[in-house]
């Protein structure tokens, strides 16, 4: 039998009840088939052992992975302050879960640990990996390198970074009964299934280009020979006062830095998460020295158009008739930039995928992971990338 995806949500006041409600709602789509994997995304309020206990009680022995978010996504729209439970049943498809710990101290090693744990379970016919790394102060591209070292760079990797409802304090990851932080859970999809991925943002460059004159890993020290923070002081007009009141990520979130990547129509975006030493910017992923970067600005129309294109890219790889389920990983910056219009973006995605009957689940996070061309294209090395301000759409199809 083919893949069946079930999605349930709840925002009940009681954490345990919410878990049970969402799980039972998700299970009702499976028509009594047991789930092979359970994926949970929740607002920070639900990061409580009682949530996982109730969900696992309902879903049985299946592996559970997931993370906290900044909002859930289903075909019905965006959900603030709730739990989203996704269950997958399938006969000829494998879902192999793993967990890597310690992403802040050694992101690459944590990524490798995740990849190794999955590799040790001997996946066959691997099609894609979905991962949900801690999105706070960790280097997303380093995690990705670690995963690629373990599983090979030809495997498409997609996913979203855990969030914490826009507080930028502490995010959590879920693995079976465990609530962890500073970790990266993920699962591999293998077997008789086709995977499509689309990733877009719709942000546009603004102002003059600057050169990265000094950078180490994900920390930019200097732009055009000046402390990197100057670019935000000059363009946003924010000073030390603003930065004391709110985290830089909060202020700069919708204005990332962008650099162009060969063969790509869109710039690759990097959020400045924290203000580092000597006016440096700690970014969500690597920025190479010598790179020319520009400040990026988001706009309603281009953002919604990007979402539609991402959905179309993902569905093209699979074919609408074969679509069994969709994951959506959306940047919280899009939610912020679009404001009350952010529901509209979910509508655009759903409609591009085929309308109201679409099975769809995901979350708003602090970063996105996706390969930079549609999966159906040629397999080149190093095609997986870490993104910001983007929407990643992953489709699963079966004939």
């Amino acid at each position: 039998m083919s893949i069946e995806m079930g999605v349930g949500v709840s925002s009940h006041a009681d954490v345990g009840t919410a878990g049970r409600e969402a799980a039972l709602q998700a299970l009702s789509f499976l028509q009594n088939r047991p789930p092979k994997i359970v994926i949970v995304f929740s607002s920070i309020r639900f990061a409580d052992p009682r949530l996982l206990k109730e969900i696992r009680q309902a879903t049985g022995k299946a592996r559970l992975i997931g993370c906290t978010d900044a909002g859930g996504i289903t075909a019905a729209g965006a959900l603030r302050r709730g739990v989203t439970v996704i269950v997958l049943a399938a006969d000829d498809v494998q879902f192999i879960a793993g967990l890597g710990r310690g992403v802040t101290a050694d992101p690459s090693r944590a990524g490798h640990a995740l990849g190794k744990m999955i590799g040790d379970q001997k996946p066959t016919n691997a099609k894609a990996l979905l991962m949900f790394p801690d999105g706070l102060a960790s280097n997303g591209s380093a995690i990705l390198r670690g995963v690629e070292n373990a599983l090979g760079s030809s495997l498409p990797v997609a996913g979203g970074s855990a969030g914490d409802d826009f507080h930028f304090q502490k995010a959590f990851q879920y693995f079976d009964d465990e609530i962890v932080t500073d970790s990266v859970p993920g699962f591999l999809i293998g077997g008789d299934v086709s995977i499509g991925v689309g990733v877009r943002h719709g942000w546009l460059p603004v102002g003059s280009p600057r050169q990265v004159t000094r950078a180490v890993g994900n920390i930019i020290y200097e732009l055009n020979g000046e402390p990197a923070i100057r670019i935000y002081e000059e363009y946003l007009g924010i000073g030390a006062q603003d930065m004391r009141q709110a985290p830089l990520a909060h202020l700069a979130m919708t204005y990332p830095l962008g650099y162009s990547v060969a063969g790509q129509s869109e710039y690759l975006l990097r959020d400045a998460l924290q203000l580092g030493d000597q006016g440096s910017l700690v970014c969500a992923a690597d920025v190479a020295e010598g790179q020319s970067v520009r400040l990026m600005i988001g706009g309603y129309e281009s953002a919604l158009e990007a979402a539609k294109r991402a959905a179309q890219d993902a569905i093209t790889a699979v074919g609408p008739a074969q679509l069994k389920g969709t994951f959506v990983f959306c940047s919280v910056a899009r939610q912020k930039m679009l404001g009350s219009e952010h529901q509209g973006e979910i509508d655009v995605i759903r409609d591009a995928l085929g309308g109201s009957g679409v099975r769809m689940g995901g979350f708003y996070g602090y970063g996105e992971v996706a390969p930079l061309e549609s999966v159906s294209g040629s397999l080149g090395p190093r095609r997986n990338h870490f993104h910001n301000e983007s929407v990643v759409i992953v489709t699963m199809g079966q004939p």
Binding site: A13, I44, V206, E234, S260, E266
Partner: protein
């Protein structure tokens, strides 16, 4: 969108105009970004305010749809979780003094954590509630006492919102974030103050409604009680009317008997004066004399009993030595007693008491006088006293024929007279014992009779010591349904 290499600086061959335009464009870009930035911040504030208003609206809609305090409390506690993200929340309603938790609901806290929270009410919570309208403590910034408290509750932030009605603290809302260290903007503080005010109003409304309901219920109960009282009073009035009619017919009968005798003798004397021998005339006149005396006694006693029963009698409260009263009665009756021994038997420590000596004398005159009628010559009548419970007990014992069991209680009925030789020879008024009972009752005591046929009679009465005199008057009991108390329409 341009692709490929972007030069670090404009090419040297660019004309100065191009260079200028390039710089202008960058300046424009800054203006554009700043405007966009400010717009987004404003938008974010709007969104936050809308979400706050939404939370207020939701809480308003859910708690204003009921007046059930418990439902309101748990709706507020739940709203703290679902609308405002608090992992642990509670609402506590204080008792009237505002010093002690009274009723509460909570969400997310374990029972142990919630108990530990309330345990620190006096020490930490109450001072905080009196201090600020929105009180926030967060781990890392809290003073030692609070830091320990936060750790104890496993939370990173604790928010306290006092609920006030006209500046009186009626309760508080507590919200705790497990992982998040909260920082509140001015607008968030305003929102939380409004949230607490909204909650206070709903709670107050519910309480007023409950109080109103209670008042309605009380009112209804009062109306029912009054109605019942009225019905009872009406019934009592009807009974009284019946009793009065009975009494009048009884009294008429009692008055008629001596009057008939008197009339008979007077008519005889009037018509046959000349024919009646002196000897007989003397007998007639002495019968007339006795019947007139009896009539007078009857009327006096009727007046007495009517005064007692209508509450018009004055009791002259004085310190009384009971043995002295008995002695005076014995002295008065010595002649009448003849060879019957009058014995007084009071212990030395018999207490003095507060009573009306004249009324007591009247009681003893009646009781001893009564006993004299039945006690054969050479026998004794003994009056003895003793301490009894809260007061005293007095016994008047004779060695007469006694009273059969079935008649014992009837002797206190008005106009009841035992059917015997003595009474036929020397009819009384039938009011002596009822008067005794009324007087003893007026003193807060009880009177009864014990007897066995052939064993003599023992009249006993008790009197309390240290009696509240006002109470006594209201305790005056009606005699055989002849009510003295006022109707209970208060």
């Amino acid at each position: 969108m341009k692709k490929g290499k972007i030069p670090k600086t404009p090419p040297a061959d660019k004309t100065p105009e191009l260079q200028k335009a390039y710089e202008e464009l960058d300046r424009n870009a800054r203006t554009l970004v700043r405007t966009d930035f400010q717009l987004h911040r404003a938008n974010e504030r709007f969104d936050q305010q809308i979400s706050h208003l939404h939370a207020l609206h939701r809480i308003g809609a859910s708690i204003n749809s009921t007046f059930d305090l418990e439902v309101i409390l748990s709706a507020i506690s739940d709203s703290m979780a679902t609308d405002l993200d608090f992992e642990k929340s509670g609402i506590v309603f204080l008792e009237k003094t505002g010093q002690k938790p009274f009723q509460s609901a909570y969400t997310g806290f374990s029972a142990g954590e919630y108990r530990r929270l309330l345990d620190r009410f006096d020490e930490l919570l109450l001072p905080a509630l009196q201090q600020e309208d929105v009180y926030l403590q967060t781990a890392g910034f809290a003073p030692p006492a609070w830091a320990g408290f936060l750790t104890d509750l496993s939370v990173a932030s604790l928010l306290l919102l006092p609920m006030r009605i006209k500046s009186r603290l009626i309760g508080f809302i507590v919200g705790a974030r497990t992982h998040v260290t909260l920082r509140l903007s001015e607008s968030e503080r305003r929102f939380y103050a409004m949230y607490a005010a909204q909650s206070s109003t709903s709670i107050e409304n519910a309480r007023l409604y409950e109080a109103l309901g209670q008042a309605n219920l009380t009112l209804e109960e009062k109306v029912q009680e009054r109605t019942k009282n009225l019905v009872e009073a009406n019934e009592r009035l009807r009974d009284l009317d019946q009793v009065k009619s009975n009494f009048i017919s009884l009294v008429s009968h009692e008055l008629r008997t001596p009057l008939t005798a008197i009339k008979g003798f007077i008519v005889t004397l009037f018509h046959y004066d000349k024919e009646i021998p002196d000897e007989k005339r003397h007998i007639y006149l002495s019968v007339l004399n006795e019947e007139t005396d009896r009539l007078t006694r009857l009327i006096t006693e009727l007046l007495d009993i009517s005064r007692i029963e209508s509450g018009r009698i004055d009791i002259q409260w004085q310190n009384v030595a009971m043995p002295d009263v008995v002695q005076r009665v014995f002295d008065t009756l010595t002649m009448k007693a003849g060879s019957v021994n009058l014995v007084k038997n009071f212990p030395k420590d018999f207490p003095a008491m507060v009573a009306d000596p004249d009324k007591l004398e009247q009681v003893f005159m009646n009781l001893v006088g009564n006993s004299l009628k039945y006690t054969p010559a050479g026998k004794s009548i003994t009056v003895s006293g003793a301490r009894h419970e809260d007061g005293i007990i007095v016994e008047i014992k004779d060695e007469g024929p006694g009273i059969i069991f079935g008649e014992l209680e009837k002797v206190f009925d008005k106009f009841y007279r035992l059917e015997n030789e003595t009474n036929r020879k020397n009819p009384g008024t039938g009011l002596g014992l009822p008067i005794c009972r009324a007087l003893i009752n007026l003193h807060g005591g009880k009177i009864w009779v014990e007897s066995e046929t052939g064993q003599g009679c023992r009249f006993l009465f008790t009197l309390p010591l240290n009696l509240d005199k006002k109470v006594v008057a209201s305790m005056a009991r009606p005699l055989n349904g002849f009510a003295t108390e006022k109707l209970g329409l208060t």
